[in-house]
C-alpha cells in the first residue's frame, strides 16, 4: 500500500471500511452486469458517472435513513431521472428540500430559535450547507454533526476506492 496512507489502528474504522467496500463492490458488480463494455468516448464518461453514483449510493445505503445526508443522497439518486427532466423548470436544489423543509417545520418547536451562532462568518455556513447533502434546512448544531458524520464516511469511501484502484492496477 502507498506510504501516504494514514494509520488506522482503531477497529471500528477498519470494520467500517469493510462494510463500505463490500457494499461498493456489490453495487459495482450489478452495474457491470447490466451494460456490455463499449469503447465509445461518450460511453466512457457515462461509465465513470455510473461508478460515481454507485460510490455515493453504496455509501448512503450503508448508513441507511438514519442521517439527513444519506437520506438526501438516496433521494437524489432515486429521483435523478425526474430531476434531470425538471432541471430547466425547477431549480434543482429546491426540489428535494421542499419535502424536507415541510417535514422539519412540523417537527420543530417554534420557541426553539437558535441564537447562539457558531458561524461567526455566515458565508461559511452557506458554503457548508451547499457541500453537505441534505443540510440546507438543519439547525447550525445539527449541521456540524452532519458534517462530521459525512466527512467520516466520505473519507473512508475514498480510501476504499483508492485501495481498489491500487489493486486493479497491479493485476
Amino acid at each position: 500500500m502507498s506510504a501516504s496512507q494514514q494509520l488506522t489502528p482503531t477497529n471500528p474504522n477498519s470494520a467500517l471500511k469493510i462494510r463500505l467496500a463490500y457494499r461498493f463492490l456489490l453495487t459495482l458488480n450489478t452495474l457491470n452486469a447490466k451494460k456490455p463494455p463499449n469503447f465509445d468516448h461518450t460511453q466512457i464518461h457515462r461509465r465513470s458517472h455510473r461508478v460515481k453514483i454507485a460510490a455515493y449510493a453504496s455509501m448512503a445505503s450503508v448508513v441507511g435513513p438514519k442521517r439527513a445526508w444519506s437520506r438526501a443522497i438516496l433521494w437524489k439518486i432515486r429521483n435523478r431521472g425526474m430531476l434531470a427532466r425538471n432541471k430547466k423548470r425547477i431549480h434543482r436544489i429546491s426540489t428535494p428540500i421542499r419535502l424536507h423543509r415541510h417535514h422539519a417545520r412540523r417537527r420543530r418547536n417554534p420557541n426553539r430559535v437558535v441564537h447562539v451562532d457558531p458561524f461567526v462568518n455566515s458565508g461559511l455556513e452557506v458554503k457548508l450547507r451547499k457541500l453537505v447533502p441534505g443540510a440546507e434546512t438543519i439547525d447550525p448544531c445539527g449541521l456540524l454533526d452532519e458534517t462530521a458524520d459525512y466527512i467520516k464516511y466520505l473519507a473512508t469511501q475514498v480510501e476504499v476506492m483508492r485501495n481498489l484502484v491500487d489493486l486493479y492496477s497491479t493485476i
Partner: protein, 90 residues
C-alpha cells in the same frame, strides 16, 4: 424590549457554547491537516474553512477515482472474487 431579548436568549442557551466547542473539536479531529499540526488552539472559523475545502477535495477525489476505476474495470473482467478476497483480508 431588551428584557424580552435576554429572556429568549436564556431559554435557547440549551445549545451551549460547550456543545458547540465539542462539535467543532470533533470536526477538527477529522480534518487531516489540523490533526497533524498538533496545535490545540485552532479557531472555529479556521476549522470550518478547512472543512469546506476538505469536502471539496474529497468530492474531486471521488470523481477522479471513479474515472480511473471505470477505466480499470472495463479492462479486467475476471478475477473479481480474488480481488474481493484479498481486499477483505487486509
Amino acid at each position: 424590549m431588551s428584557s424580552r431579548r435576554s429572556r429568549t436568549r436564556q431559554s435557547t442557551s440549551r445549545i451551549s457554547d460547550d456543545q458547540i466547542n465539542d462539535l467543532v473539536s470533533r470536526l477538527q479531529q477529522l480534518l487531516p491537516e489540523i490533526r497533524n499540526r498538533r496545535s490545540d488552539k485552532v479557531s472555529a472559523s479556521k476549522v470550518l474553512q478547512e472543512t469546506c475545502s476538505y469536502i471539496r477535495s474529497l468530492h474531486r477525489e471521488v470523481d477522479d477515482l471513479s474515472d480511473r476505476l471505470s477505466e480499470l474495470l472495463e479492462n479486467t473482467d475476471s478475477t473479481q472474487a480474488t480481488i474481493i478476497r484479498s481486499l477483505l483480508s487486509q
